[in-house]
Amino acid sequence: MPQEYRQILKYADEPGYQPDIECYLRHGGYEVLKKALGLRPKTLPDGRAVGGPEQLRQEVMVSGLRGRGGAGFSCGLKWSFVDRKSGKPIYLICNADESEPGTFKDKQIIYKDPHQLLEGMIISSYANDVHLAYIYIRGEFVEGARILNRALAEARAKNMLGKNIMGSGYDLEIHVHRGAGAYICGEETGLIESLEGKRAYPRIKPPYFPAVLGLYMCPTIVNNVETLCAVKHIVAMGGAEYARLGTPNNTGTRIVSVSGHVKRPGYYEVEVGKVTIGELINDPAFGGGLRDGRKLKAIIPGGSSAKVFKAGEKFKIRRRSPDGKDAEQEYELLNLPYDFDTLVAAGSMSGSGAIIVLDDSTDIVEALANIAEFYAHESCGQCTPCREGSLWMSKALHRLTHGEGRPIDADYLIRIADNIPGGRTICAFGEACAWPVQSFVGKFKDEFVAKGAAGQAPTTEPATTANQVTEAKAMATRQ
């Protein structure tokens, strides 16, 4: 029987557990920080001296920790890219802009156990010689920002923050910065621009890699909330020990947000790769199965931008088994282990760890129209393919779902979507808005064709569509 493995959320839901520092300290809080700050320089066999911060970075590298925000990039590698010779300050930013539809894991940490995040951040800052760090939190988390500010004040009062932290000689300040309601602020360079007070236009890479030219053109690390919490546990138990959690190359634990048509939507912390998608959806310990009388139709496995899986899909996947050998194996959809590499091999991604379950009551065209409308609304508008393509797809889907579709609209949609991703855009939003369309239409084409065939295609451009009415209103208020 698969079970939750609660490490980050160990205490969060315990009765009486409070987000204040006293409660956190009673549960062993800030002990890991004390350990990290107290690390003595070590001399390697080759005679090279390794300071405490570098030891911490090595532990994170050894742990195999992969970013929990969406891309699943190696955290240790990300830290290793930081330009430490520039002479400029290094900044750490906690990305708490959790905005991928279907994702609600960081929220649990921020609201219920903010000091764990702070401890993770302080350790990570110390490890990277950071003296100023920011928490960029989505504007909608109004209470979350208050909780974090309260926690920061408590930590300052206890000298976990500020000058000479716990007598170690290390200084660090952390500030909370609230976003103003834009999905794109979760993209790390867009976030940095927003933090600098500008429009959250993602930066072009090259040359603006955050590790070299980040916040205020200084080396910057941007890590997700959950990733920074994991750092605390890596330092507590040692990187090698942490790497034994989960599966090879997919180490540690991960909080999965399960939503949609399941009996028990919620967040579940599991060892990465030790639990299958089917278990996360159907097991009583997790999603608890679909609603009675309903059958599975589709799964969006990693937040709304991930490519959809169709019920009954089968995959041939090369995967590294625990003995370290690669072997190709056929997997039913529900038997796919929920980890980074397997889902990528299956053609999608685990993204932000958000599983959205769609049962057979779902109109798949409507579902895609909803997703596409979100991305059209959230495209920042900086670069051409995403700016124009996202709204175009949304308009076509709006037409399809409002009785004005054409049978050729399925191909029409695919051809638009194919022109957006794959390095044609500045940031990964191009992929985020195109993948749902490519995968929904690709895997449920008959439904799109049927919807189009049932529609009354507009022979000429309609004089006043709903969109035009909205636009006219927007124009009236602007002028």
Binding site: P206, S379, P385, R387, E388, L391, K395, A396, R478
Partner: protein
């Protein structure tokens, strides 16, 4: 505001290391770094710069060589490869000895991606063509396609790239996004937001070059809208440059809007005459009428820009009260109009008869080097006192010079103007008052505004005036010789930094008017008996031989962008 784009001299860039890349199979050597357009600091050479070296055109909208890179239009996406490395980190070699190239899995924007040694750039693969086609389609779906009434038509990058890289048919069946039309951005600019492709060139120009962070984008996604800061008027002195760099018809000049189809315009290389900076321009004219000035690139002077004040200062060329007829004392009496030959003969006779020291000359620092040179020769032959009039306004840090004369340095180098300029004018006035000066020659200035009032002019035996537009001095003139605007003749100016630059003739002179250098040469020949040069080229070269400040110059060597002399 950056000194690198102004008239200030750039510090010489240190010699850069070179590297070799291939563009569509052709090997080129490019510098490893190129100067940042704003700061002059070395930046890694980009693919688009390497392609320029290889003479391969990469289509682009947002990229502009004089602005910071934005990378948003995605039109310059190219494919590329780099030398493949083996496990030993050494390049893998093909059987024929060439390095094996690992093609990058994703395209890159040529405007922002640095080149690396051995890189291969592919700008004409099927995938690149497909990406351009897609970008163009995206740019056009919400575009109003109103080319028939758009001023940009004919010089529009959407049109040009549609022909080169676009599709002929549209498959877009959705309603278009509607945005504000005819937005009054400022006193000189109208914005059509539906035509805007959001390349942000104008935003970057006004922020980084003009130093006025006035423009920005509001709203998101496809509804993104260019606007001036709320409640602010876009009215700095450089706004019209945004019309030049706007690749589409979004930003239009109120002055030029709906006046003329650009394909009818003849383009003539010229100079701005509104201040001593001497911005290089292109005059757009049709059928002897000037329709617009545009800046012409010259990194030694004005980069790619010019100020609105200078750009719009052309209407006087076509003014209906332009002086077009020759006037002699007899021309009002006789029924027959005066001719150049008769007028110049009369003037020459008068001047020859004038006692030495009885003639004074007021020249204008708006005249060309050649004309000022001829006037200095005339002054020498007559023993005349000379000067010209200073013209001063408020300058700025970018292009506009406080000296509003285009050729003050020419007036100094030819010795026509006193030092400081205008300091001889009170002496000339005094000399007329005392009766010593009895003949005054005035070119292009209104003497009554420089302390030589009507009553003094009335004391003269002869007042010989050449000008373009009427004023109190021309009204008092006995001999009036209609001259030419710079757009109507050829010649050279020497700018505030000593840059000697030439300009060409865009339109024909009005009426009887003739280029001043032509009739000054004839007059000199009549007085001295020595023949003048027959062309402005010959005249310039003769001047360069005689005037020490212009020594060694030739008309031909000036090229399009001029040569700097010490001033």
């Amino acid at each position: 505001m950056s000194p690198a784009t102004t008239t200030q001299a750039k510090p010489a860039a240190p010699p850069s290391e070179k590297l070799r890349v291939r563009v569509n199979g052709k090997e080129v050597e490019v510098p490893k770094t190129m100067p940042d357009p704003l700061t002059g600091k070395p930046l890694p050479t980009t693919m688009i710069q390497a392609c320029a070296v290889a003479n391969v055109d990469v289509p682009h909208y947002c990229y502009h060589p004089k602005l910071p890179v934005a990378g948003n239009c995605r039109m310059c996406l190219v494919e590329f490869g780099t030398p493949a490395l083996g496990p030993d980190r050494k390049p893998i070699v093909n059987p024929d000895g060439t390095p094996k190239i690992a093609k990058a899995p994703r395209p890159a924007i040529a405007c922002a991606t640095p080149v690396t040694p051995g890189m291969e750039i592919y700008t004409d693969t099927p995938a690149v063509k497909q990406m351009r086609e897609a970008v163009l389609e995206f740019l056009l779906i919400n575009h109003p396609l109103d080319c028939p009434i758009c001023d940009q038509a004919g010089e529009c990058k959407l049109q040009e790239y549609s022909v080169d890289y676009g599709q002929s048919a549209s498959r877009f069946v959705e309603p278009k996004v509607h945005k504000p039309k005819r937005v009054d951005l400022g006193p000189r600019i109208v914005l059509d937001d539906e035509r805007c492709i959001l390349c942000t060139r104008c935003i970057r120009f006004t922020k980084h070059i003009a130093g006025d962070d006035a423009l920005g984008i509001v709203s998101r996604g496809s509804y993104s809208t260019l606007t001036a800061y709320p409640g602010r008027v876009f009215d700095n002195n450089y706004t019209l440059n945004t019309v030049d760099i706007c690749p589409v018809g979004a930003l239009t000049s109120k002055d030029f809007r709906f006046q003329m189809r650009v394909w009818f315009l003849k383009e003539t290389k010229s100079l701005c005459t509104s201040c001593a900076t001497g911005c290089n321009t292109v005059i757009g004219s049709r059928e002897e009428q000037v329709y617009r000035y545009e800046p012409r690139e010259n990194d030694a002077v004005n980069s790619n820009w010019m100020c609105d004040y200078g750009r719009l200062n052309y209407k006087w060329i076509g003014r209906p009260d332009r002086l077009t007829a020759i006037r002699t004392p007899a021309s009002g009496v006789r029924t027959q109009a005066a001719t150049w030959s008769s007028a110049l003969k009369e003037i020459a006779d008068k001047l020859k008869a004038a006692p030495a020291g009885s003639v004074a000359i007021i020249a204008s620092a708006r005249q060309t080097n050649e004309e000022l040179y001829l006037l200095s020769k005339l002054a020498k032959a007559l023993g005349a006192m000379t000067d010209s009039a200073p013209r001063v306004g408020e300058g700025d840090r970018l292009l506009l010079n406080a000296d509003r004369n285009p050729n003050s340095n020419g007036a100094r180098l030819t010795g026509v103007s006193a030092n400081p300029m205008g300091s001889n004018l009170p002496q000339i006035a005094e000399s007329i008052r005392s009766g010593r000066t009895r003949t005054l020659i005035v070119f292009g200035e209104d003497a009554t505004r420089h302390g030589i009032g009507k009553e003094l002019l009335g004391k003269l035996e002869a007042l010989i005036v050449s000008d373009i537009l009427p004023n109190e001095t021309t009204a008092a003139a006995q001999y009036l010789l209609p001259g030419c605007a710079h757009a109507e003749k050829r010649g050279t100016f020497t700018n505030t930094k000593g840059r000697v630059q030439k300009f060409m003739r865009a339109v024909e002179p009005r009426g009887d008017a003739r280029p001043e250098w032509e009739f000054l040469q004839e007059l000199l020949a009549l007085i001295t008996g020595q023949a003048g040069a027959v062309s402005v080229e010959g005249l310039f070269n003769r001047m360069a031989g005689e005037v020490p400040g212009f020594q060694g110059l030739t008309w031909a060597a000036l090229g399009d962008t001029g040569v700097t002399v010490p001033v």
